[in-house]
Symmetry: C2
Subunit: 477 residues, 2 copies
């Protein structure tokens, strides 16, 4: 029997002005985790969030994570954990979000003040953190409040985990989650993370997979210090020459990775999986719009989605140690470090990828016949993640989407990584669902980040409805 949600929905609509004011207050706190000087604002944001949760009747704790690794004078902002409801007869859902934001400044090219939520005539709510991730985090709080005001029983016990360092590598969080998996989080029956985006702008989705990422440095050094190219050009072997020659052998213009053995690590495409891509609401025009160009590799949407979700890719990000400013400088850099990464997919094991990368790079270096010293190292590796979209956690979310948005959601994967997803799955052993609120045009890490009013308000209904369907699924299963 479908849950009775009309009272809750109406209350969300009635409180929509209040919920936008709550988002405005959150956006006004510049909780930039990457900026040491803004650390007090990150802490203040955590405190504000804890206060809001307490006012709603949740039990709240702010857990310290200790000093920041490498910057021991700085304390990491606390993890805000909370519990709302403790009814043994109800299912318990653990939700995750983050209260820190990316850096932002008017001088970067924002059309509005980034920390002043500005709503335009089309209902676009511009502000840093609006969609990533303060809107979704407040979505859970708003859902609680609308239930209370409407007098509708809250359908589950809600465990919450909101961190303040997501935009800076979630420092300290992995250990905390593992530590609390059989303590604070032990009752969790499933996990829901709202920190990603629809594939497009019109159709909601549920996300069940992410690519991993293995990030490499290739350092080549020779001279004892930077040299003048007039004095030494033609007499010294130049590290930069060696580096671009090797980087140039990694991947071709059409994205084909040139490292032997990588393609063979990828899980074969089954006919069943292949048939799924045609139905996804996505067009090449969507891609061109988000690229800002038509410089795509594949001619059709199926190949494009497969390339994004289920095949590896290799990108060359840049070079450290060389001349990188505008203008002209006639330097021969003494030590240059090329940065490249491989997005990984099932069934690639990171250690196999490392082995193949190191072997190939080593061969290319040897071919140069250079006296310079080359060293290829792994900077970090994050594993890919794929969940079962047939689990009741996804079924409930699918029904909630259909109820709120009137369409069945697309089942999607993502090309990027959200490492905490895998951590929650492994630490709790429970199914993890990614349930996005914002759309593909929200510009999460860019200037003019926004969340559409519609996505925020309907998103609050969606999070609430999801919890009701989760409770109902409990009855069925």
């Amino acid at each position: 029997m479908a849950p009775q949600l009309d009272g809750f929905f109406k209350q969300v609509d009635d409180l929509s002005g209040h919920f936008i004011e709550r988002l405005r207050k959150a956006v006004a706190i510049p909780s930039i985790s990457a900026d040491d000087e803004r650390r007090p604002d990150v802490v203040r944001m955590g405190q504000w969030l804890a206060d809001e949760l307490k006012a709603l009747g949740a039990e709240v704790e702010q857990r310290p994570l200790g000093p920041q690794p490498g910057k021991e004078h700085l304390e990491l902002p606390p993890v805000v954990i909370a519990r709302y409801g403790n009814d043994k007869k109800k299912r318990t859902i653990l939700v995750y979000g983050h209260y820190d934001v990316q850096p932002a400044g008017k001088e970067d090219g924002w059309a509005t003040e980034p920390f002043d939520l500005t709503v335009d005539d089309n209902g676009r709510m511009y502000g840093r953190g609006s969609t990533d991730d303060k809107g979704p985090v407040l979505g859970w709080l708003n859902a609680i409040e609308a239930h209370q005001t409407a007098g509708v029983d809250f359908p589950v016990n809600l465990l919450m985990c909101f961190e303040g360092m997501e935009e800076y590598g979630s420092e300290g969080l992995d250990d905390f989650i593992k530590e609390e998996a059989d303590k604070y989080f032990k009752d969790a029956d499933a996990v829901c993370i709202s920190d990603n985006y629809w594939l497009g702008t019109e159709k909601p989705c549920l996300t069940y997979g992410l690519r991993g990422c293995s990030y490499y440095s290739l350092e080549i050094s020779g001279p004892g210090q930077d040299l003048h190219s007039g004095v030494f050009g033609g007499t010294a072997q130049e590290p930069m020459t060696d580096l671009v020659r090797v980087l140039g052998t990694l991947v071709d213009t059409n994205g084909k990775i040139q490292i032997p053995g990588i393609a063979e690590l990828v899980a074969p495409l089954t006919e069943e999986e292949k048939s799924l891509y045609g139905n996804i609401a996505f067009t090449m025009d969507n891609l061109y719009e988000s690229l800002g160009s038509q410089t795509s590799i594949h001619p059709d949407k199926e190949k494009t989605l497969m390339a994004r979700w289920r095949y590896p890719s290799l990108s060359i990000h840049g070079i450290e140690g060389a001349f990188s400013q505008p203008g002209a400088k006639t330097v021969i850099p003494a030590k240059v470090i090329g940065k490249f990464s491989i997005r990984t997919v099932p069934d690639m094991q990171p250690e196999d990828v490392d082995r193949l990368v190191f072997k190939y790079v080593d061969e290319q270096i040897k071919k140069l016949g250079s006296k310079n010293t080359a060293k290829c190292t792994l900077q970090h590796a994050g594993m890919w993640w794929v969940a079962s979209p047939k689990h009741w956690n996804f079924t409930a979310a699918g029904k909630a989407v259909e109820r709120v948005w009137g369409v069945k959601p697309d089942l999607t994967r993502e090309g990027g990584s959200i490492p905490v997803t895998l951590t929650f799955e492994q630490a709790t052993g429970k199914n993890v669902l990614l349930l996005p609120m914002g759309s593909s045009t929200d510009a999460a890490h860019s200037i003019n980040e926004k969340l559409d009013r519609r996505n925020y308000i309907e998103g609050i209904k969606l999070l609430g409805a999801y919890l009701h369907y989760v409770a109902e699924e409990e009855m069925i299963n």
Copy 2:
């Protein structure tokens, strides 16, 4: 008849303490031309120099060069021009130097305060500008003073041109020199520039050639903005991939330029020229010491010197627009600009080099089959320069070296460019001599720049003796 120089030499020795104090005062003024905030110090340095010259009885003018191109709120520092002596019976020598310096700060790793001249037990005088180029500039003033004190008649009329923007591209100077060639500089019979270095540490040299430099940008762009490699890796053609693939085809590890036709532009090596290299005081150990490594291309000194002086080289300096910081960033840069330059030699014409470079790069780009946009442009070109070392200007300098240092100087060329050299030659139509004071270990643009006390004091004698031999050459010719 060899000039009578003993009285002058003795006076230089007697005044050596005073001359070192003069250098200390000059080094104390941080006349960093690249730093807008230090511009008043550059102007103060020019004023100090003008005052010193006036005190020695020279006629001095400070000529304004107008606003700095691109930074119109900043006035360029004036050119200090001066005349000492106006005897129609004497030869007139035009000398050039610069009173600005490279940036320097203790935080860069200097062992001493860079603007506090510090003399160690081995007579090494550390300080920014000590060797580049305040020491040599003051050398001319000191030579005048020693003549006056010793009561020795000054052998020539001396025209001086000291600029304050050499370390920032000699902004405005070319036009000034061309303008004054038949005005202030019209009496000049020859030009002498002391702003370079010995090839090693023990043997003086006279320099009669410089390589030119053609500096190129290769810009490749595609997406409308930087992309996230997780989301777009594998679906978009990446400008960085294209760029490293093209840069990797320009030159090999052993410095061989891969652009067809470049080698054919180079003047053939004659047996006569070939025979000159064996006698130059230079060893592979000198090269290894200045490289700080043994990562050389050629196994012997002759090939190394030829590669530095008379063959072109191609260096890749860096990439603008890509990730260049330490750490890891998973960006796909939307627009990247590779910077590379070719050092040019006789008989390479810059326009021929451009044509071959553009054609080759265009072919490499086409091979990629990329939808990205590529654009290769010349940033700037400076012509190579070769003077006749058989001119009386060089003969006089050679005799002066033999008198002061007891050895015949090596005749050398340099791998780098000093564009003002060619400007003086073309504007005045006179022979230009490069007569260095400092040695190869002076670290002109690096931390711990120094000038050896011996090179400074004997250098003052050398500059004075050179003027005497110039005067005598006048009688002979």
